[in-house]
């Protein structure tokens, strides 16, 4: 079925004749006969009506939970109507990388606005146009810090396991060593960091808030990194960034993270949005696309992809990263989200997360067997003990249309956002009380 091909069979014949061949086969004469396949052993095409039915059927095999208390790197936040409408505009959806700046000012300006917002959130000087996701951003960030003399990447054990795993993969590729700094009370052990880091250290990477939701003493960890001449890299939750000390205030050289909470659905893990910002001094080491402001020949302000001398299409094997695209539509999503919320709205969302998480933590930890595991301050995630196998709790909650916290070693990692009403939290606590009895 010639589904999206406009040419009719008659037109195709005429066009083949114009080209000077008699059949499609002639067009593929360069392909050796032995390589030409007879056909693919897959089903025939279906009508739009049939495909829709089939895919909707597959979607129904998923459980979209009524209330969600799980985060751990993917967060359930409210997505305003304006965000969904704007990012569905076909101009944005169907464009590609803005190579031709004259007809791409819309995408370019939106990225310039995105870069500005990321700098505002993190307090740092320069942002790139985004990368694949938070884990890839972390891996690229630590890559910016390595050189021949300083090759060991120190990563706190308190980072999201997927982020640590991704950093390890990138370091394996680059033949670089990763050293994990242990925990104490759920946060990075600063004394351990100070004792293991030396002049081989490229950087120290910590996550704020960390995987267990706890707020790290980032300022102190930054000093430790800097005192041995290493860079300090912070992976941050962007919602928490609305209220927490900025990476710049904590002395970070690079900040990165995943901006999925800014208007992107959880969508089984992607697409999400990696962001990276850095101090001015490190700007030329930033990988990926960067948009800059300039003028056209009439003197009109305009935006363009810039600092391309860093990139693969110019430097080929000498480029520091092979990245050649960004998550432009996701960056646009985040920009629209932040514009819709504004500074007050974003702070409001962050404060709702913090207050509701505290309320939930108090309710849950009051139940026998569900005590808080760590004493520190947290943002919107926290770990409690679990009096039984955590999967039992998970199943029990699932039966009531609730996605409970993530089973982790020692207990359950809960996440509470502005999406969780007091009623939902009370219901959750009620079910946990039943489990506890």
């Amino acid at each position: 079925m010639a589904y999206y091909v406009p040419s009719t069979e008659a037109e195709q014949k005429e066009m083949l004749a114009r080209v000077g061949v008699s059949s499609f086969d002639d067009l593929f004469a360069a392909i050796p006969d032995s390589l030409r396949i007879k056909g693919l052993d897959m089903p025939e095409g279906l009508s739009e009506f049939e495909v829709r039915g089939k895919i909707e059927g597959i979607a129904r095999k998923n459980v979209a939970f009524k209330s969600i208390f799980r985060g751990a790197g993917a967060y359930n936040h409210y997505i305003p109507a304006l965000v969904k409408q704007i990012v569905s505009k076909e101009e944005f959806v169907t464009a590609y990388t803005p190579y031709q700046a004259e007809i791409s000012q819309g995408v370019l300006q939106s990225i310039f606005e995105f870069q500005t917002m990321m700098c505002e959130l993190t307090g740092l000087d320069v942002s790139n146009a985004s990368v694949y996701d938070g884990a890839a951003a972390a891996a690229e960030s630590v890559g910016m810090c390595r050189d021949r003399k300083r090759s060991v990447v120190f990563v706190s054990e308190s980072v999201n396991p997927a982020v640590l795993d991704t950093i390890k993969t990138y370091c394996y590729a680059a033949n670089a060593e990763v050293s994990v700094v242990p925990l104490k009370n759920g946060v990075t052990d600063a004394d351990a960091a100070a004792s293991v880091m030396d002049e081989s250290a490229a950087c120290l990477y910590v996550q704020q808030p960390n995987f267990y939701g706890l707020i790290e003493d980032a300022g102190k960890l930054g000093e430790i990194a800097h005192s041995c001449g290493a860079r300090f890299v912070m992976g941050v939750n962007p919602v928490a960034s609305a209220i927490l000390k900025t990476p710049a205030e904590c002395g970070a050289d690079i900040a990165c993270g995943d901006a999925q909470p800014f208007g992107m659905p959880m969508a089984f893990g992607g697409p999400y949005l990696g962001f990276m910002t850095a101090s001015g001094e490190m700007a030329r080491k930033l990988p990926g696309r960067i948009v800059g402001q300039t003028k056209d020949i009439d003197g009109k302000r305009a935006f363009v992809l810039t600092l391309q001398a860093r990139e693969q299409h110019i430097r080929r094997e000498k480029a520091s990263s092979n990245i050649c695209s960004n998550q432009a539509l996701c960056a646009l999503t985040a920009s629209v989200y932040l514009t819709v919320l504004g500074p007050d709205g974003l702070r409001g969302a962050a404060e709702r997360c913090a207050s509701k998480a505290r309320y939930a933590a108090r309710r849950i930890s009051a139940i026998k067997g569900f005590e808080l595991l760590y004493p520190g301050e947290f943002f919107h995630e926290f770990v409690t003990a679990c009096p039984c196998d955590a999967s039992v709790v998970e199943k029990r909650l699932a039966g009531r249309d609730i996605l409970g916290g993530l089973p982790v070693s020692g207990g359950i990692l809960w996440c509470v956002t502005e999406m969780n009403t007091k009623e939902q939290i009370d219901e959750l606590a009620g079910i946990l009380e039943e489990v506890s009895r």
């Binding site: 589904y3 700007a283 693969q312 301050e377």
Partner: protein
């Protein structure tokens, strides 16, 4: 036009969230930032207009012809997008118990099965988020394979000089030295140079086939054999799979690992630069090294499983799931015949356009091309002072996106044209007419081409100035213009 920050007015805000329904509890003062981020403060109607204005200053496939070579800017079916917006997919947490996400696992499993059929591979991962990310993952599989065999002398990756810049950059990023091999007079890999380049230090070869000149390398079986005999593996850059999908398979050509650009070949939208998907397929011997986790069939449905010697993760979770889903919708819609039909018409459209231009422009490698072809404007520049840039910028005034410019690097003043199968004959005829008119103007009024574009929101930009004095964010304190 103004930036959102310039439209901002203090105090403009509107409620999105309901009032707090639990006691307010703030974090200790000492943990908080000194001042709030300076985000725009705008009213809803003005936000809506701001982005509509930006959309109008953006050219997508939906706005007009977009023959950007090697990017496969085909029509993005709207059904794909509707399916990707179903709450049964968007509302699923990636760490849900697999038994509550069977639909998502089925999507990944089904897409893997179909794409393995199309490429002739045995297994596939969807974790990589883009083509370059897929290259990184694929070359890592090669590295892990040699490492697992204890073969430590494999330090080099061979890359033809017609390759995308991402190929050599990927090889470097994975710790390899790059050996460039030249192209022969027909645009294929120079066999003598390849034989010279391989040895017991060869880790692998990265090849795009058809290549960036739009040529299917007729020596492909010999090329992959030479590399295999030297103990290396063959990597297929799938950027140009659209030419051969349903017709020939990389797996049969001797390739061990392949990446696909689902946002090119499989019709998912490019989104202004992303999100895409760089799915990576491999032969059975590389399967144990794939990123974790993978989806497997189990007795009650589908489950996750970690490959025994996985290279780890290249990003969190399972890749850009909604992109994979769109690609699956596309494959189900087209079916086997539809996929072949798409490839055939992609190649036909490219040849039709080349034919319509070849008497007035120089084709870099004349003959039958695959899905794209390259013009060289070297002579035109010498004789009339009109460059590939001038022709490209002139096209903008006709409402068309220009071809890829100055690539591949081995062709001087290159314009690389890939019309794709979803363009009608009328569109191709119109594009041919425009390019012929521009060519005529190069004779009659070359100056007018240097001035182009005239009718775009902005005209040619000072790119040197942008790089020399980088302004990479809005200056809140400065004077704006």
């Amino acid at each position: 036009m103004k930036l959102s920050f310039e439209k901002s007015r203090d105090g403009r805000s509107f409620p999105i969230l309901p009032p707090l329904d639990v006691p307010r509890e703030d974090l200790p003062e000492g943990l908080l930032r000194k001042s709030p981020p300076r985000l725009p403060q705008m009213a809803q109607p003005d936000i809506s207009r701001h982005y509509t204005e930006l959309a109008k200053r953006t050219h997508g496939v939906n706005d007009g012809f977009y023959p950007l070579g090697s990017c496969t800017m085909k029509y993005n079916p709207k059904l794909n997008d509707e399916m990707a917006a179903l709450p049964g997919f968007t509302g699923i947490h990636p760490l849900q118990p697999p038994e509550t996400a069977q639909g998502c696992l089925e999507v990944l499993f089904a897409a893997e099965r179909l794409l393995c059929l199309i490429t002739g591979m045995d297994a596939m991962t969807f974790q990589p988020a883009a083509g370059a990310h897929g290259e990184f993952t694929g070359v890592l599989l090669i590295k892990a394979w040699h490492d697992a065999r204890g073969d430590k002398k494999r330090a080099k990756i061979i890359v033809p000089d017609s390759a995308h810049g991402t190929n050599p950059a990927t090889a470097s990023m994975t710790g390899y030295q790059v050996v460039n091999v030249p192209s022969d007079s027909e645009g294929g890999v120079d066999m003598a140079a390849l034989r010279e380049a391989v040895g017991d230090d060869t880790a692998g070869l990265m090849l795009t086939n058809p290549n960036t000149l739009g040529i299917f390398d007729k020596n492909i079986l010999e090329i992959t054999r030479v590399v295999h005999e030297a103990g290396g593996l063959n990597y297929y850059d799938g950027a140009n799979l659209n030419a051969v999908m349903g017709i020939a398979r990389p797996g049969d050509m001797g390739f061990d690992v392949v990446h696909l650009n689902l946002h090119k070949t499989f019709s998912t939208p490019h989104g202004g630069g992303g999100p895409g998907s760089g799915a990576v397929g491999c032969k059975a011997r590389l399967e144990p090294f794939l990123p974790k986790p993978r989806v497997v069939r189990c007795k009650d449905g589908f489950a996750f499983s970690d490959p025994e010697r996985s290279v780890g993760s290249v990003k969190a979770f399972y890749g850009n799931f909604l992109v994979t889903l769109r690609a699956l919708v596309y494959m189900l819609t087209l079916g086997a015949d539809g996929l072949r039909d798409a490839a055939q018409n992609a190649v036909l459209n490219a040849n039709y356009m080349m034919k319509g231009l070849s008497d007035v422009y120089d084709v870099a490698y004349p003959g039958i091309c695959m899905h794209e072809f390259v013009l060289t404007l070297e002579k035109l520049k010498k004789e009339r002072g009109v460059s590939a840039m001038d022709v490209a910028k002139s096209m903008l005034d006709y409402g068309m996106h220009p071809p890829t410019m100055y690539f591949p690097l081995i062709v001087k003043e290159a314009l690389m044209i890939e019309p794709t199968e979803t363009e009608s004959r009328e569109t191709l005829d119109q594009a041919i007419a425009v390019l012929r008119e521009i060519r005529a103007r190069a004779d009659s009024d070359p100056g007018s081409l240097h001035d182009a574009p005239l009718n775009t929101p902005v005209r040619r930009l000072d790119e040197v100035g942008a790089a020399r004095h980088p302004v990479l964010k809005y200056n809140f304190d400065g004077v704006s213009d």
